[in-house]
Symmetry: C2
Subunit: 342 residues, 2 copies
């Protein structure tokens, strides 16, 4: 059976105009698409596209969560918002996963409160997937949790390893703990204690890694508290944009440079593609009873398509069952403190 993915048609900076074509493309690739949002606008976007024979349903939702709505408010007061209706479809068994490029705080809150946690998960976490010089790296958590305890950090790593293995297709992903020195014993209190949990686990734990190791591609999963991860993710986006802007400015500063830039255009395009987040999917929210992918607000059609693909792969490869297995195997490492920490 094809994976059924509910897509928040209203989400993101470009809304239905970008989301609907991306969803149609995913349907062409064999995904059962459920578009959720303003029926008239969705129909208008579907009209010019060839959708004959494709598995596309439309489920109406009368409200939209705005980018500046507070997650809690969105949850309570906009019960008929596209993101909440889409998430309820997963809860009610009418879809397997949900993708939204809307207000990411609201998407996370909907996932947490509507779907609930997989048994044994202490804290769901947001996995950021970032380009590197080699294969992408999974940074977890990138903002769903702050002040994480050691057992939380350990489970973040466990969940992201399942993602890396069963969704990104890495054979035996390596897991590193983000710290401020490679030696054991470096870091803050939570990281030092998490180190021991990782070392006792069955994960391929490579020890502490530092900020400079994230983008080399030499580690597959990097674990950190959501405060640190969110700063790291946004800093990376900001720095990449700033570097691109500075480069552009410098290369347009003389006629010779401009001519040179023109000749190098193909190289630049490839560079931009490597750096560009659009090629990578969004951030999966891991640990919930259902697949939730938080797409970047700026997502273009390709980015949305990649998010839907990732959601579909998660469902096809039964990542949730693998996660449950992993949690069971490692229950001894987190159970002791699970009750007090949950």
């Amino acid at each position: 059976m094809a994976p059924r993915i509910a897509v928040d048609a209203m989400g993101g900076d470009y809304g239905p105009h970008v989301v609907v074509p991306a969803a149609v493309e995913a349907a062409r690739e064999g995904v059962h698409i459920v578009l959720v949002g303003d029926e008239a606008r969705i129909s208008a976007e579907l009209a010019p596209l060839k959708t004959d024979g494709l598995d596309i349903d439309v489920v109406p939702a009368t409200q939209v969560v705005e980018m500046d709505d507070k997650p809690g408010d969105a949850l309570r007061r906009k019960r008929d918002s596209s993101i909440q209706v889409a998430t309820r479809l997963v809860k009610d068994g009418q879809a397997d996963g949900v993708v939204s490029a809307g207000n990411s705080g609201a998407t996370v809150a909907c996932g947490m409160f509507v779907l609930g946690r997989i048994k044994g998960v202490l804290r769901p976490a947001l996995a950021g997937i970032m380009p590197t010089e080699k294969t992408p790296v999974v940074l977890i958590d990138v903002g769903a949790n702050v002040d994480s305890k050691p057992q939380h950090l350990f489970q973040f790593g466990l969940m992201a390893e399942v993602l890396a293995r069963h969704v990104l297709g890495l054979e035996k992903p390596s897991v590193g703990l983000l710290s401020i020195g490679e030696e054991e014993g470096k870091g803050n209190a939570a990281v030092r204690d998490a180190f021991d949990l990782f070392r006792e686990s069955e994960l391929r734990f490579i020890g502490n890694v530092e900020g400079r190791d994230i983008f080399t591609g030499d580690v597959d999963v990097v674990v950190c508290d959501g405060f640190v991860g969110n700063v790291a993710l946004k800093l990376s986006e900001g720095l990449a944009s700033s570097m691109s802007r500075i480069l552009k400015r410098e290369l347009h500063s003389s006629w010779l440079s401009r001519l040179g830039t023109l000749l190098s255009m193909r190289g630049f395009k490839r560079f931009k593609r490597v750096v560009d987040y659009a090629e990578y999917g969004g951030a999966p929210l891991l640990g919930l009873k259902g697949t939730v992918i938080v797409a970047h607000g700026k997502s273009n059609e390709l980015a949305i398509l990649n998010c839907i693909r990732m959601a579909a792969t998660t469902v096809r490869n039964k990542a949730h069952e693998h996660l449950s297995d992993g949690l069971a195997v490692h229950a001894g490492l987190t159970n002791g403190s699970a009750k007090s920490a949950a």
Copy 2:
């Protein structure tokens, strides 16, 4: 009187061969230089340089802290190391400041234990100065402290503001608190409480800033815990290097691109200069009785020179007196918890 700066001649990846010429150049600019380390090697580097009439002393030190020495060991077992001898010159009043590109953990430890804190300072902190699209930004703390309390974070901001104003020459530097959302109330427990201290202070506090704001140049001082700041600093270095490598690889992938790159060379050089850390000084360790500048291990001659310049400016502009004044003005905000937190 000229500022007297003790320079660890043995420090850094390139040692005396790079440090000595940088120090001589600083002497030409009117700094009284005290070179500390292996006398024979220092003399050999000085010999071919024109040093007539310059204020350059050499103080011998028989030991060298290696890059893989642990800071505590270096402190206890290498009491005659160049970095420790240089720091003691400041302690004993024979120099006003010290610059080292050696083992940064050992440099920080020497500063902390040999010099001691300025009265009222809870925790000395390391200020990273990073290039942006506009003026450089001061990120504090970049690794001297982990698990910082709210009053520590507040003092980090206070110390960096003095640096930005009296050493970097900004008129009324803005101070932002690094968090994971701009609204008040966002962040972890320590950040939320620090927010209130900043708001009640006389600093030009602009509220929470996010990772993406660091490199825009729109905020002058960004305050965070040393764990977060260290990750941010190393991540930035790593990402900038990775982007440069990817760009280089792409631009060398065809003859047309290579020709184009050749024509754009001046633009690239300017880009590299903006991105390159060498143009900026090292990281000042703030809050100590004496000026300590931690230079990057990879520092080239220009980077070392800039560090010495920064140390000299700190002394000339009496930054320590301004810091003491700032601490006194804001004592009410940190005193209540100062004893328990110190």
